[in-house]
């Protein structure tokens, strides 16, 4: 997602400064277990050990504060695994908490601001959280040594119990207050991998119990403040439209409606509870000004994109004279692809809770890029950065949807709170709730895109050249991230997974073109890889078919310089029995792809139902994401990533008719369901490499693996998604 930030951070310092200036208050940098200056003394008195990432409490609970939003990907538990291991805490005593907005303490070291995305949580925090756990342990041991009058070296900690050979023992909680007064070690000793008790082994998710009993205050939508009001907002049904005029006379009559305001994003209905706010909104009569709105249909937009791929674009990769190489080729395969807009469809629609007293503002929601949200709130409310408090809550999914670069939910609620204040309303907290229709028709989609491929082959069936033109709306251009992520003018998010391929083609050139439209677009689980993996990996199978080669053998031949990709491909093929015959009616397809530093190969086994639709029976996956911190969560994320990607390629698309969104809810944007879910086997490559993310990498290979299986069965290549268009669903 935001992983491309890493390079510009290293290469383009001026851009970084620009970005940080925009994110006033952000200092970036890696903060280990630095003492919180104002809280250290208080903590000593309270018997609590309170450091930025670890709170050890007198009741013997150890809270690990995740600086990253947990939207289901298991990050909070993953970071707790690191702390618990280095601290030698017990699994039972660990409590997961989400850190509030504080860029000084909680910046993502790959972004320079606090934010979650690009499967970066584990790679950026692996050492930081281990050091935090190790520092806490050193302080506990040091405190015990003083208390007991024994050498620190004789003290051991195991499963949360501190002991000395003399028989003295104490819990972490009992020593917390004393440990809080110890110096924070600058460079605490870390365990060696053979000493790990949880990392690479097992640390079951600590958030699961709450999520199986309907625990209160878990998600934003559940969060309530005393006297809280609830609002819905009628937003323009066409992207880019604004309110021309409105009549609220009928809406106002609904019992429970408190006030109705026009705000920049639309008309807000403020009510005592949710149902009146929903009901009254339907009674608003609004005339929209569509002079700046997108009024085209998605078909017309796709025609424009396809046309753009036939013209020279912005150079993304240029190995040499690709046109000459194609000209000299014995055979040139030409393939066009198109991909639709996709909604994220997280189970919890967007929502936010906030309150503002004219001087200070507090927010409670699943903020994914806290520093941006924090700034936007301060700017709109006209108060200093430090007068804004953002409390991060658990998210009922996101898949990228809560990582808005424009912080529109914060912006909207801030404008509403100003309007309420200007109207002289008494100060009351407010919650804005989005309905499913708001969420589905509200944009911030995975961009639709067109791709034009030309592959040159020589007489022996070797690839001579690849020319790749892509057109889409840029997620980055014009956003807060443009200075950092497009330092060279190129949107790498759009082409990742293709322009950086490790297939050794003699010449590969890639060009991109940007569509202009008011339809907002955003990172969607695995971003550019959602389309590039499909294109590259189905292209590989077409080359294999054209040249009479085995799809796995062809890939291995062209991946000579990529040992990790080679490994996962071989492992998945072996576990799936690639070289063994299939039962009657079954067909296989393979795909291998690297995204966000992690390598995933998937072999899909399919059959066809009597009506000709495709059923994905089984997926065998192999993954290399470096040191597997929590193997069961890696399996879970790959299972879920496969399901998320499969649902999208089978039948998901957001289409526009004259600018109006056609798919408004789960009845028309049909999710993957239980009966669609294949059996999934996930094999993890043992590794000592630094850990990389796993929230996204399971998603890209599934589409092409299934498409390749269909092609193996029927010689039918699906190049226009979703599969419903080909009558396969």
């Amino acid at each position: 997602m935001l992983h491309q930030l890493q390079k510009p951070l290293e290469q383009a310092k001026p851009s970084r400064r620009t970005f940080l200036k925009m994110s006033a208050g952000a200092v970036g940098g890696l903060i280990l277990a630095a003492k919180l200056p104002n809280t250290a003394k208080a903590a000593a008195g309270s018997g609590e050990f309170a450091q930025p990432f670890v709170h050890i409490r007198p009741d013997n609970t150890v809270a690990v504060l995740s600086k990253h939003l947990d939207k289901g990907q298991g990050t909070a538990n993953g970071l707790a695994t690191l702390v618990a291991d280095e601290l030698d805490a017990s699994h039972e005593q660990i409590v997961l908490e989400l850190a509030p907005s504080n860029p000084q303490l909680y910046a993502n070291s790959l972004f320079g601001v606090q934010g979650t995305g690009g499967s970066t949580a584990m790679p950026n925090a692996f050492m930081q959280y281990r050091q935090a756990g190790a520092a806490a342990k050193a302080m506990i041991v040091s405190a015990a040594a003083k208390e007991w009058g024994v050498p620190a070296g004789e003290i051991t900690v195991s499963s949360g119990v501190v002991s000395h050979p003399s028989g003295k023992t104490a819990t972490l909680g009992e020593l917390a207050g004393l440990a809080a007064q110890e110096e924070v070690p600058a460079d605490p000793a870390l365990k060696t991998p053979d000493q790990w008790v949880y990392i690479g082994k097992s640390f079951p998710r600590k958030d699961v119990k709450n999520k199986t009993v309907g625990a209160p205050d878990t998600y934003t939508i559940d969060f309530k403040r005393d006297g809280m009001l609830t609002a819905t907002v009628a937003r323009s049904p066409r992207f880019g439209g604004t309110v021309k005029s409105f009549d609220a006379s009928e809406a106002e009559k609904v019992p429970g409606v408190v006030e109705i305001f026009q705000i920049p994003s639309g008309v807000a209905v403020v009510a005592e509870s949710t149902w009146p706010a929903i009901k009254a909104r339907d009674l608003l009569e609004i005339e929209w000004d569509d002079s700046a709105a997108e009024t085209r249909s998605s078909d017309a937009m796709m025609s424009e994109l396809k046309d753009m791929t036939t013209k020279p674009g912005l150079t993304v990769r240029e190995d040499g004279d690709v046109d000459a190489a194609l000209e000299a080729s014995a055979n040139v395969m030409k393939i066009d692809y198109d991909f639709p807009f996709l909604a994220h469809g997280a189970m919890e629609p967007l929502d936010i809770v906030a309150e503002f007293d004219g001087e200070k503002a507090e927010f409670w929601f699943a903020s994914q890029i806290q520093t941006l949200d924090h700034n936007v709130a301060a700017t709109i409310l006209g108060i200093p950065f430090e007068n804004v408090q953002i409390n991060t809550l658990w998210s009922g999914g996101s898949f990228g949807r809560r990582a808005q670069q424009d912080s529109h939910p914060v912006s909207e609620v801030s404008f509403l709170m100003k309007a309420m204040r200007d109207a002289g309303m008494e100060k009351r907290p407010i919650k804005i709730v989005w309905t499913r229709e708001d969420d589905m028709t509200g944009g911030y989609y995975r961009p639709m895109s067109a791709h034009k491929i030309k592959v040159g082959l020589d007489d022996d069936g070797n690839v001579t050249a690849v020319k790749y033109n892509i057109a889409a709306k840029s997620i980055i251009k014009g956003s807060a991230f443009e200075p950092m992520l497009m330092a060279d003018g190129v949107d790498h998010n759009m082409t990742e997974g293709a322009s950086d391929t490790t297939y050794s083609f003699p010449v590969m050139n890639m060009e991109q073109a940007f569509q202009e439209t008011p339809v907002p677009v955003l990172w969607w689980r695995s971003v550019g890889h959602t389309h590039t993996a499909y294109v590259m990996e189905t292209m590989m199978d077409r080359i294999a078919k054209e040249t009479g080669k085995d799809p796995v053998a062809l890939r291995l031949e062209l991946l000579k310089d990529d040992p990790r990709k080679t490994n996962v491909l071989k492992l998945a093929a072996e576990k799936a029995g690639w070289d063994t015959p299939l039962p009657e009616g079954r067909h296989r397809g393979v795909a291998v792809h690297k995204s966000f530093g992690s390598y995933v190969a998937e072999v899909a086994e399919i059959s066809f139902r009597e009506d000709g639709t495709v059923k994905v029976e089984k997926v065998t996956a192999a993954v290399d994401c470096g040191i597997p911190v929590n193997p069961d969560n890696i399996r879970a994320q790959v299972e879920g990533g496969i399901g998320y990607g499969l649902g999208a390629i089978l039948r998901n698309q957001v289409t526009l008719t004259d600018g109006y969104v056609e798919e408004t809810n789960f009845d028309t944007y049909e999710s993957l369901r239980m009966s669609d879910m294949p059996e999934i086997e996930v094999h993890i490559v043992p590794s000592t490499e630094s850990p990389t993310g796993i929230g996204e990498p399971g998603t890209p290979p599934i589409g092409p693996a299934v498409a390749n299986a269909i092609a193996a069965a029927r010689d039918e290549w699906i190049t226009s998604l979703p599969f419903t268009k080909a009558g396969l669903v």
Binding site: G74, G214, S273, M347, P349, Y644, M674
Partner: protein, 153 residues
Amino acid sequence: MSVTLTINGEKRTLDAASDTPLLWALRDELGMTGTKFGCGIASCGACTVHWDGIPSRSCQLQIGDLEGANITTIEGANGKAAEAVQAAWQELDVPQCGYCQSGQILAATALLSETPKPTDDDIDAAMDGNVCRCATYARIRKAIHVAADKMEG
């Protein structure tokens, strides 16, 4: 209007407009937020409750029609099947974001109460109305089988 019904074994009175969906009455009037809003059109199952033991979409039940009804929500899920399901869910780390899981658990509980040893086809039929965007379906299926074993043992 005022409606009296039984929720999780307790008599409760709701004072709200008669067209208020049970979902919002539970969440906003009673503060029982375990029942989730997902779609509002009975397409996702996040708002599943039991009405006389039958899994029902609370976004489609208007409180005006519920005088005397017997409703069970996730907060009141108990008994052999519910406990086996919750234990299996925890054992297999089924939830990811967790938002749909109240509904999944109530759907699975109703399935196991009717069909103590469900086949995969039974599971497909009983669970297809419950969407999980994290796609935890493979684990849900496995957990239902584990829960069935627990109930037997």
